[in-house]
């Protein structure tokens, strides 16, 4: 566009037009600079976590639990195991419910109901995670005590809207010609959903799951009141509270001990690598699914 403007005899001459062009250039430069700043911030965070975390990553980190107070060494084996188990449980709860919810919303619900559900999902997604922690504390922990199970419920509630909305988005992308084709062959709506819509949206559901896992693994607030008093050992019984990576980072970050801070950096590096890789994979997969579905049209 600008190349053509330059050749336009009406606008070359006046100094006012030069000023307008200069102003435009300046604003464009500022906008590009803003994007640059965002990237730099991301890189600075990644770099400073990696710089401090990498030297502290060693075999002990994966094979030992936290060392007793004042003793050097120790690791976060129990926190790694705890995060894996709690994330898995939360995902196992949230994915089926989220996918069924998305199916109801896009395939079965009358328009008004569908709007109301979407609104509720958005509202639930906007509820501060710390409030969800308080909610599950009152609902589960007060009567049954802390447990990995309680924490998983809190995490599941947090990722439910994430999974449902992402699945909904893919289901809506499935071309209506596929639906109509299936029903023209005499299939019921249920058969259409199971045999036509779900298979074509499968990639999208996988993506939604990955994004949900990445989100659940990194959340601290819901764990704070539901699984924060745990044995300093590897726990695999979901009825007991478990250590977790975010909680290990949280407590160690406020410790004055250099060694604790080292552990926090190492744990932060592992957690961040896991979450960022999950997010990138999810994002790239969703771009691919989108393209694939668009080709079906």
């Amino acid at each position: 566009m600008s190349a053509q403007d330059d050749r336009n005899p009406l606008t070359v001459v006046s100094p006012r037009s030069r000023r307008r062009k200069l102003q435009g250039r300046l604003m464009e430069l500022l906008a590009s600079f803003a994007a640059l700043v965002a990237i730099v911030v991301l890189l600075v965070v990644i770099f400073s976590v990696a710089k401090r975390g990498l030297p502290a990553v060693n075999a002990d980190l994966f094979t030992q639990v936290a060392a007793p107070f004042g003793v050097e060494g120790g690791g976060i084996k129990n926190a790694i195991v705890g995060t894996l188990i709690m994330t898995a449980m939360a995902t196992a709860m949230a994915v089926p419910i989220g996918v069924l919810l998305a199916i109801f919303d896009t395939e079965f619900a009358p328009p008004q109901v569908s709007v109301a559900i979407r609104m509720t999902l958005n509202v639930l997604a906007g509820v501060p995670t710390i409030v969800i922690g308080i909610f599950i504390f009152g609902l589960v922990v007060v009567s049954n005590g802390q447990s990995a199970f309680a924490a998983s419920i809190a995490l599941a509630i947090i990722i439910l809207p994430v999974i449902a909305r992402a699945t909904e988005e893919v289901l809506l992308l499935v071309p209506s010609t596929l639906r109509e084709g299936s029903m023209a062959l005499g299939a019921t709506r249920a058969r259409t959903v199971v045999s036509v819509i779900l298979p074509s949206a499968f990639g999208g559901i996988v993506t939604a799951t990955i994004v949900g896992v990445a989100r659940a693994a990194g959340e601290t607030a819901p764990i704070l009141f539901t699984s924060s008093i745990f044995a300093n050992a590897v726990v695999t019984d979901p009825s007991q509270p478990m250590a977790s990576m975010p909680f290990a980072i949280f407590t160690n970050s406020e410790s004055p001990s250099h060694h604790d801070q080292q552990v926090a950096w190492a744990a932060a590096l592992l957690l961040m690598a896991f979450v960022l890789l999950g997010s990138i994979t999810g994002r790239l997969l969703s771009l691919r699914t989108r393209r694939q579905i668009e080709q079906m049209r």
Binding site: G24, V123, L124, F137, L160, A190, V275
Partner: protein, 322 residues
């Protein structure tokens, strides 16, 4: 095969004598999850209010205007935390929103095609960094950096503004604002990019044909067209900033005090809950923390629903698909 209806979408349910178990079963199952969602939401509101009830009865609305937070005397009030929450969130938005809109503009209009996906991805990754990691970085790297380099400069050059006066501190309100703005930028940026992409090409070309420069086209056509959506996305960013507990707790220093300056420690509603709820001394303290949670819930419901109403109205005005 007795029915030969040409419009399959108009068939409510195929008429058959045998009841279709799969059909009703799947319908019922999916509808049950929708009910579950509504139940979770209702229970969430009920349970939080129930925990806060003793404190609500004790302090009423005076809770909002009292700046006392004293476990010994049993006096609890939210004023300082409400101000702290508003201050951190508003400063974070002031930093983040212009930047995020500029990034949205860059991604939708300015960036060369090859850069759009990777740069967009990197901005979204900012949102994926776990808040506890951002808090760790904030407490050990960014806070000390601000205290050593940025805050002295601010107080030397802008010290006449109360916000930038006083002694530098590595834990305080300013690091919390910076951390929050890092969290808000990706939210607002990705929404504003979608908004800018939704501006009809004819409008943009019309402005260009009238001789506008690209910036004039952005300012006079695109920004007005998406302004409602930008307001909605700002509200979502506000909701995010208000509700963030972990990273803020780590960097803000946790002081029940309101200072005119951004440098000393303060506290927000969410960070006070995160810092104290697990180790409360009295049941009234716990209930008062739940009262803070109720206030947070109300703020998040209002901002969220308002944002949705604004964008919903826009979509209808623009004829369906925005």
């Amino acid at each position: 095969m007795t029915t030969t209806n040409l419009d399959p979408s108009s068939i409510p349910l195929p008429t058959r004598r045998r009841p279709r178990i799969g059909e009703t079963g799947l319908r019922a199952l999916t509808a049950a999850t929708a009910l579950l969602l509504v139940a979770i939401m209702a229970l969430l509101v009920y349970e939080t209010a129930r925990q806060a009830w003793p404190s609500i009865q004790e302090f009423g609305l005076g809770f909002i205007t009292s700046d006392q937070w004293n476990v010994v005397t049993g006096q609890f009030g939210a004023l300082n935390f409400i101000i702290g929450t508003l201050l951190t969130s508003v400063v974070a938005l002031v930093i983040a929103v212009p930047m995020a809109i500029a990034i949205g503009l860059f991604l939708s209009e300015l960036a060369p095609r090859v850069l759009r996906t990777p740069v967009g991805l990197m901005v979204e990754l900012l949102a994926a960094i776990p808040s506890v990691v951002l808090g760790l970085w904030g407490i050990l790297v960014m806070g000390p950096f601000l205290a050593e380099h940025v805050e002295p400069w601010l107080s030397d050059h802008l010290g006449f503004i109360p916000l930038f006066s006083g002694y530098p501190s590595s834990q305080g309100v300013l690091p919390a604002c910076v951390v929050l703005s890092i969290m808000v930028v990706p939210i607002v940026a990705s929404i504003s990019r979608e908004l800018f992409l939704s501006v009809p090409g004819e409008l943009k070309q019309g402005a260009m044909a009238l001789g506008a420069t690209r910036w004039e086209m952005v300012r006079s056509v695109m920004l007005p067209y998406v302004s409602g959506g930008l307001v909605a996305s700002t509200m979502l960013g506000f909701g995010r900033a208000v509700g963030e507990a972990i990273a803020v707790t780590q960097v803000i220093g946790g002081a029940n005090a309101i200072s005119r300056s951004l440098f000393p420690p303060g506290d927000t509603m969410a960070s006070r809950i995160a810092a104290q709820y697990a180790g409360t001394a009295t049941s009234l303290q716990r209930s008062s923390l739940a009262y803070l949670a109720v206030l947070l819930l109300i703020i998040s419901l209002i901002t969220n629903i308002a944002a949705q109403l604004i964008s919903g109205r826009l979509q209808r005005r623009l004829g369906g698909e925005a």
